[in-house]
Amino acid sequence: MLSVTETPARPKQTATVALRGATLRFGARELWAGLDLDVAPGEFVAVLGPNGSGKTSLLKVLLGLQRLTAGSVSVCGRTPRRGSDLVGYVPQQKAFDRDLPLRGRDLVRLGLDGHRWGTALPSRRARARVDRAIESVGATAFADAPLGLLSGGEQQRLRIAQALLGDPRVLLCDEPLLSLDLAHQQATSALIDARRRDAGTSVLFVTHEINPVLPLVDRVLYLVGGRWAIGTPDEVMTSSRLSSLYGTDVDVLRVRGRIVVVGAPDAAHGDPGGSHHHHPVDDDHDDAGERAWA
């Protein structure tokens, strides 16, 4: 068990996300153990690691969808709870059917009250709120078009508006740049960056690829098969640190301001049976991500 903590001491009450000795196990498989993490308001934490290392499961814990095996977790001082407005969620871009009967505006609106029972009544206040959120991400021009006809970048703008509607203190992003081209990657990450600077929203950003967000990253949480490391990119993204995390020789190169990791195994576990026992939801998700990168 190797747990390398570089967390500067932060006053506990200001942390938006606090994990203490957090451990997650599915049967015999340990995703991570003894995880300590305090995320400050406005901080941008990139969550990196190979497939099946429990990145998405960490988000599920913070969303109140997954219980820890051991340890404690709090979001703004409270136990995470399903459907909380304290947390916003931005998923990866997905393909919507061309004739899906839903406009961009409707997708955003679902972020406001889509989880409540009943039927939404027309409300001027709700409409104004949705309009403001759409405007804040520069999506006004295409918000009334059918979702299925929008580009991946346009969709992700609306996703961010959807996630920000509840005015969250913590923004959880799960590979939101996946399958976007470079210009849309930059536009999407710029929106997330603006939000955390303007409103002090903490960002946990799960990604396979750190480079598109490297300038924004305050700290990196690197998960590998039960082990983890946290610190600034310069502290964590080094050959010696990643080699000890992976338990094999890994080279970290810096080329033209980009970080290139060479020799890291794709899967979190060396044992051949390991990857078949983990949580099905996490499994689907990480596999989907892997295919898209292949």
Binding site: L63, G64, L65, R81, R82, G83, S84, Y89, P91, F96, D99, L100, P101, L102, R103, D106, L107, L110, G111, D113, G114, H115, R116, W117, G118, T119, A120, G138, A141, F142, D144, A145, P146, L147, G148, L149, L150, S151, G153, E154, R157, R159, Q162, L172, A183, H184, Q186, A187, A190
Partner: protein, 282 residues
């Protein structure tokens, strides 16, 4: 006899009320059937209402009550056997095959008029009794209330399951509730157009509506309207043409509306493309 004379007759009035109720609830669930890719669930539960009807005949000499109770059993069975979305169609296939076998066996045990069970395969709209009308009214009311309660979380879970789950929607529960509603609706519709033609009220109107609008409320409204026009139009037309059955007219009108919507919808899509401009460079 002219159309005006027909409208004075109780059995015609019953048929129109029943046809209207069924059209409203079918049009209401239709958009969700398409978004959730549940067309096979509609087909499966429709055919299995034959088994429920046969069971009802054997046990209590009541095909309609049997069909409704059977539809709940079928929905629960499908829900239990398809824990994952992609298992659903195979689960329906398995239950459908076995259920039809059971239906044939049950019908063999019944010594009354088997018409009551086979009617449900083809519809017997002009034979709706007072009691059946009340039962239908109760089912339609239940479906309306359930869909009003379910509407938002069902829409969320149908179009955007991952984010819905993250926002606290219990997708599995909402999906199972919808399956129950769907099964009841389809069984009600089976009495009007027959199990084999249910798709013409539960899917075709919604498919047509989707070609014309991307607003969820507008699509639902158009879907109900198209279903009503098909159902009531088909019933009235069949009164004028004794040689052509009502179900033939209903399927024909709903298909014609779909064809028209496709032609008109192609132009709507082109216009929408213009509305959505390329994103500004960041």
């Amino acid at each position: 006899m002219g159309l005006g004379d027909y409208l004075q007759l109780a059995f015609v009035q019953h048929a129109l009320i029943a046809g209207g109720l069924v059209a409203i609830i079918c049009g209401l669930i239709g958009p969700f059937v398409i978004t959730r890719r549940a067309a096979f669930a509609v087909h499966g539960t429709a055919e299995l209402s034959f088994t429920g009807a046969a069971a009802g005949l054997v046990v209590a000499d009541d095909a309609v009550a049997g069909a409704f109770i059977g539809s709940i059993v079928v929905a629960a069975a499908i829900g239990m056997l398809s824990a994952r979305e992609r298992e659903r169609d195979s689960a329906i296939g398995v239950i459908l095959a076995f259920g039809l076998g059971v239906g044939v066996w049950l019908l063999g045990k019944y010594h009354g008029f088997t018409n009551a069970a086979t009617n449900i395969l083809f519809g017997y709209i002009f034979g709706v009794s007072n009691d059946q009308l009340w039962l239908l009214l109760g089912v339609a009311g239940g479906v309306l209330i359930a869909m009003t309660l379910l509407y938002r979380p069902l829409l969320f879970a149908s179009v955007d399951p991952d984010v819905a789950e993250a926002r606290g929607v219990r997708g599995r529960m909402v999906g199972l509730a919808f399956l129950m509603v769907l099964s009841l609706t389809v069984t009600a519709a089976a009495q009007i157009v027959g199990t084999l033609l249910v798709l013409s009220l539960a899917i075709t109107p919604a498919a047509a509506a989707q070609r014309l609008s991307a607003r969820p409320a507008m699509v639902t409204g158009l879907s109900i309207l198209f279903a009503l026009v098909s159902s009531l139009g088909g019933l009235l037309a069949s009164l004028e043409t004794p040689s052509v059955k009502a179900s033939v007219w209903i399927t024909t009108i709903s298909f014609a509306l779909y064809a028209l919507a496709r032609v008109a919808g192609a132009r709507v899509i082109v216009r929408r493309r213009v509305v959505a401009p390329a994103p500004a460079p960041a």
